[in-house]
Symmetry: C2
């Protein structure tokens, strides 16, 4: 399915005023309020949201003082100079350790995402000892947020939930989608023709990851902008980001 | 160095009217004309350009009818059901084959980029038998284009040259930077504090790749939009995209 893009291009608008999100908070209320305060109408576009505020609203926080690290966690933490309780939480979120080295753990999460530390961040609030986990199912979280916002008046929107990932071969982090709703994660242009009537050869574009990365420019982690509304791109179709995961049997890098 | 972002966010503006680029064309003249036609002022922002038009202007085209494939190219082409002349061109652009399988060659180019087919595309024009190679040095191409555009009146711009890459573990392609000028490829926010006074824990953000991916939403290959101007982000600093490549000794996926 082809995405419809406005001739004038895209606008990426930061949503101000979201502040700290606490377990049990109604995220749709907070985001609708932030959009209003920022002069943004949640209509005909894509809301890009950092996973961290969804995780916090969902209570996906672990108090490290309650964690009893396993022998494996203690061993890895010793080798990598980490907090064994953090490593223990990472191991609990991990289906398989894909690589370890240079103090880095690249893990496959129970969702199937492959990322450092299974997506488990440590809270940076002073005096706090919390680990923030990825949502249990980020596609379900995206669908729920889209539905809740529509009940608050949003119209024809998609939702993309993002996290910040490292990549093989390149330094620096990029934002990628970990969950989506109301948009095809991949736009397949094969078989279409260009302006000159030639058949497009491009294979499938990872639209939700392109959106995540573009919005990520405005959402530098912990900077106070955990959500961006992308105008100029009419969403359509549906499909889970989880469905973008490559079949391990066809993956050359496992 | 921190990038300066406009409070209102970013605008990603497609440049219309670039059309077919031929070897020897003055790309700065074409892009300046397209910007004018599209009502875009090339000022205080980042020009994102698909590598293909730079390669074409630079004459980085190979007529496949002139190519004598090596035994290795013939063997690989036979195994993968490809044109042996295309494989030969790919091998010539390759420093090292990183992986082969499922009909895909993941190559390290002489620049050090790791991508399918060493970035060599086949032209899709009917009756043509050309391969399009990556520019010889995309950072040099970016600097030259920035300088040429400044001579034509552009002010305070950065240039990011992009190509479309697959990724391990996920289906779908994203645009990534292969060359840049006038912008720090990586924005390092470590040590800064957020609005609440807490230290940012994020490591370095790959700004040029986030820009490439965001602009890539508008630049679907061969769709007639090979350049996008990003407004709302004042460029600054400098540094080559080539410097983002991870030291192979620290890479867990070679």
């Amino acid at each position: 399915m082809k995405i419809q893009i406005d001739e004038a291009g895209l606008r990426l608008r930061p949503l101000y005023g979201i502040g700290n999100v606490e377990p049990g908070d109604d995220l749709s209320k907070i985001i609708a309020g932030a959009a209003k305060q920022s002069g943004v109408e949640l209509r005909d576009g894509v809301l890009v949201v950092c996973q961290k505020i969804i995780s916090k609203a969902d209570g996906r926080l672990v108090d490290l003082s309650t964690i009893e690290p396993s022998e494996e966690a203690i061993r890895i933490a010793g080798e990598d100079d980490k907090d064994p309780r953090h490593v223990e939480v990472v191991l609990r979120e991990t289906r398989k350790i894909v690589r370890r080295g240079h103090g880095v753990m690249i893990c496959e999460t129970h969702h199937g995402y492959i990322c450092a530390n299974a997506g488990v961040d440590l809270s940076n609030a002073p005096g706090e000892q919390f680990a923030v986990l990825l949502p249990i199912d980020c596609d379900v979280s995206a669908r729920a947020l889209k539905s809740d916002l529509e009940h608050r008046g949003a119209e024809n929107i998609a939702v993309v939930v993002t996290d910040t990932f490292g990549r093989p071969w390149r330094e620096g982090l990029v934002d990628m989608s970990v969950g989506s709703a109301g948009i095809e994660p991949i736009s397949d242009h094969r078989g279409e023709v260009d302006l000159a009537g030639r058949e497009l050869q491009v294979t499938a574009t990872a639209t939700v990851d392109q959106l995540a990365a573009g919005a990520g420019i405005l959402m530098v982690k912990d900077s106070g902008i955990p959500a961006v509304f992308v105008e100029g791109l009419a969403p359509g179709g549906d499909g889970a980001t989880g469905d973008m995961l490559r079949d391990p049997a066809e993956d050359l890098f496992r």
